[in-house]
């Protein structure tokens, strides 16, 4: 199976072509093609995972095969290849599983949409690109698919292109990611300039022996800019909340579970580069930690259900990046996996609610738990998992990150992480209490979603409960003996950290109940007491405004000036030359008197002068 692993991204790619060229007009067939393709990939991923486990393929001895995609002998060799180690296998499993479920879910959710077939073609294209990204064995290839997933993200965010906001959000996502990719590209250019290869394993052996760490640190920092964009870390996070303009299954798949995690995956892939550079690791850790905190504070004040989840995603991605930064690659990847399940579940649940109510503002919902039992109960399970309530998935993974931060001596980040855990349960249960319980708003007619939508919810709910156990401390040969950097290690349970984080999570839920679980005017009071902080949070720290100002005033302003310069100064000079020629012509034409005999006289005089010049030595003539 491993030797055929390259087929995994090929199936969705073929599905994409089939949908675009053949089944476009038959909606359900398109969906079926997409589902079958990703399903096949999913089955193959299970096979790969099984073989990795059975055959003892580990991080040190992965399977790699490649062919030269583009080569210039002696100068450049770009491979298209497959690198399979446990990291790949786990990612493949997670991505194909979530993608498969989201595809099924979309049949119900997108039912009756005009762009139904294109939606499935984009999903298939995304699947192919994302799986290609995971399998990549070199920086070039990862970059190749990195851009392609960005494209799919752009297309899917702008899926409802008749809405200005959706089109603009797509543009914003693409351009923001472009900025990051610019850095990423420069980063691996430097690596290529130093080492002459893009291949991860060749780099892994070469990097530890390289002396000029300052230069290498620049490269690593630039490479990290890529994840800052793709995994939406501060300060390039602005695109992700706006990306919620896309259809909800897309938010679940791309903007929560898989694509945004690609940045974290890249960090894991390139971990050898970062691990040797403590300064860069510090940057990574603090960017991640800050994003986690920063996004969580915004989430508390938002009222759009998808935006709350988006900020929650930002915050959790921050956790993962922070885990990478403190050196716990295992914890970061573990959290990536569990987060993929419960965050996908949250989004799909939100999608189910939006589908039923056609409403996204949580303050206009309320009391819908009676109508949508499956959706609401799975949503709550996912929220508990996210908050880190034992024994759900999030508890184990988040705990490992916090313990990792503490063990590696980042006490500050540990405290920050714990605060974020508190904020997480606060904003999640604020959402739940406001939207699901409390008084029912008039005019809302909730109804449970169709089976195609609830089935994925149930499966993901099961996964949100159990997936944490693969990495739990009491499991021998768990996640940490599979995916690791350096030495495989066993997780030692840190009961202190566990206890505190559980307490904090429960405290968050309690505070949420106090504030929002029952009729209370405390939230309004707080709002009026601290208007500055409230406005800051509700307006997302005004970062969008700053960027818009930069773009509108500075960049466009300069562009207008340049345009004026081009049209008037540069063109003016050249037109001026033209005008000068014409003007001199206007003056010179007066020589043309029109008098025949004047011309004849001039000609004759010229002949005489030339003759004299040629004939007479006096004038320096030639006939001497």
């Amino acid at each position: 199976m491993i030797n055929n692993a390259w087929l995994i991204p090929v199936f969705p790619a073929i599905a994409f072509l089939i949908i675009v060229f053949l089944t476009r007009r038959v909606q359900l067939l398109s969906a079926l093609v997409g589902i079958v393709a990703i399903g096949t990939s999913f089955i193959m991923s299970i096979g790969v995972l099984r073989e990795v486990l059975v055959n003892g393929i580990s991080m040190e001895n992965p399977v790699e095969y490649a062919f030269t995609w583009l080569g210039i002998p002696g100068y450049l060799k770009i491979e298209a290849g497959v690198l399979i180690d446990p990291l790949t296998a786990v990612m493949l499993f997670v991505v194909t599983l979530v993608a498969f479920l989201v595809n099924i879910y979309s049949v119900g959710y997108m039912h009756g949409e005009p762009g139904f077939s294109s939606f499935f073609s984009y999903l298939a294209l995304f699947g192919a690109s994302m799986l290609g990204l995971i399998l990549a064995n070199n920086y070039f290839m990862i970059f190749f698919f990195w851009e392609l997933v960005g494209l799919c993200s752009y297309l899917l965010i702008g899926f409802y292109y008749h809405k200005h906001s959706a089109a603009r959000a797509g543009l914003k996502a693409f351009v923001t990611n472009r900025v990051a990719d610019f850095g990423f590209m420069l980063g691996f250019f430097i690596l290529f300039a130093i080492f002459g290869t893009f291949n991860f394993r060749e780099l892994a052996t070469a990097i530890p022996n390289y002396q000029d760490t300052a230069f290498l640190a620049i490269a690593a920092t630039l490479v990290f800019v890529g994840p800052i964009g793709k995994s939406a870390q501060f300060p390039l996070h602005v695109w992700l909340p706006d990306a919620m303009e896309g259809p909800t299954p897309v938010s679940a798949l791309i903007h929560a579970a898989t694509m945004v995690a690609a940045g974290v995956y890249l960090l894991a892939r390139a971990f050898v580069l970062f691990a040797s550079l403590p300064t860069v690791m510090l940057i990574v850790a603090y960017v991640g930690g800050f994003t986690a905190f920063f996004a969580a504070t915004i989430a508390i004040t938002q009222s759009d259900i998808k935006r709350i989840l988006a900020y929650s995603t930002l915050s959790q991605l921050g956790y993962m990046v922070m885990a990478m930064g403190v050196g716990s690659m295992t914890a970061g990847m573990f959290h990536l996996m569990t987060h993929a399940f419960f965050k996908a579940l949250l989004f799909l649940g939100a999608g189910s609610i939006i589908h039923a109510l056609e409403e996204q503002d949580i303050f206009r919902m309320g009391g819908i738990y009676k109508d949508m039992k499956v959706t609401v109960s799975t949503f709550i399970i996912a929220s508990l998992a996210l908050c880190g309530v034992p024994p759900l998935a999030g508890f184990w993974s988040k705990d490992e990150i916090l313990a990792g931060a503490l063990n590696h001596g980042f006490t500050g980040l540990y405290v920050l992480g714990t605060v974020v855990a508190f904020l997480t349960s606060l904003y999640m249960f604020r959402l739940i209490f406001i939207a699901f319980f409390g008084k029912r708003r008039a005019g809302l007619h909730g109804h449970e979603s169709p089976f195609t939508m609830t089935l994925p919810l149930l499966i993901l709910a099961v996964l949100s409960i159990v997936s944490g156990f693969v990495g739990a401390p009491f499991v021998s040969h768990g996640f940490s003996s599979l995916v690791y950097y350096g030495e495989p290690h066993h997780v030692v349970p840190n009961y202190g950290v566990m206890g505190i984080s559980v307490l904090v999570a429960l405290a968050g839920i309690f505070v949420a109940w106090v504030l929002y679980g029952r009729p209370s005017d405390v939230p309004t009071k707080i709002k009026h007491r601290f208007p500055f902080i409230y406005n800051l949070l509700v307006n997302k720290y005004y970062i969008d405004e700053v960027y818009m100002w930069l773009f509108r005033r500075v960049i466009l302003g300069v562009s207008y000036i340049l345009n004026w310069h081009d049209r008037h100064v540069v063109d003016g000079i050249f037109d001026g030359v033209g005008r000068l020629t014409r003007a001199s012509g206007h003056k010179l034409r007066y020589i043309q008197t029109g008098n025949l005999q004047t011309y004849a006289l001039v000609i004759f005089s010229a002949v005489v002068i030339i003759t004299l010049w040629i004939a007479t030595p006096v004038f320096g003539g030639m006939l001497q």
């Binding site: 034409r589 007066y590 043309q592 008197t593 029109g594 008098n595 025949l596 005999q597 004849a600 006289l601 004759f604």
Partner: protein
């Protein structure tokens, strides 16, 4: 004894007369006549040079014949032009031939 110089002097005088006529006369026909005089002066020079310097060859004569032919063509074209202009404008004074002027 008539030497080359006599011929050259004749040619020179004829040329100057022709030049004067071409530059000073106002009538187009007179100008054409002046030009003919100049060409004939040249012919005299050519034939004279040939006779005195290279009597064995007839290059000068050949050239002179060419000049005569060209002159004939030129007169034909020139007269045709003058005639046409005269018909349209009832004018053969070159001072009024100024439509090409700016």
């Amino acid at each position: 004894m008539i030497t080359l110089n006599h011929y050259l002097a004749l040619g020179g005088m004829l040329f100057c007369i022709g030049l004067y006529g071409a530059l000073a006369k106002k009538n187009a026909i007179a100008i054409l006549m002046g030009i003919e005089l100049m060409l004939n002066a040249v012919n005299i020079n050519l034939v004279a040079f040939n006779h005195y310097l290279e009597p064995s060859k007839v290059v000068g004569q050949v050239f002179a014949i060419f000049v005569i032919v060209v002159a004939a063509a030129e007169v034909a074209v020139g007269l045709a032009l003058v005639l046409n202009i005269y018909r349209r404008r009832l004018e053969s004074n070159v001072d009024d031939f100024n439509w090409l002027k700016w």
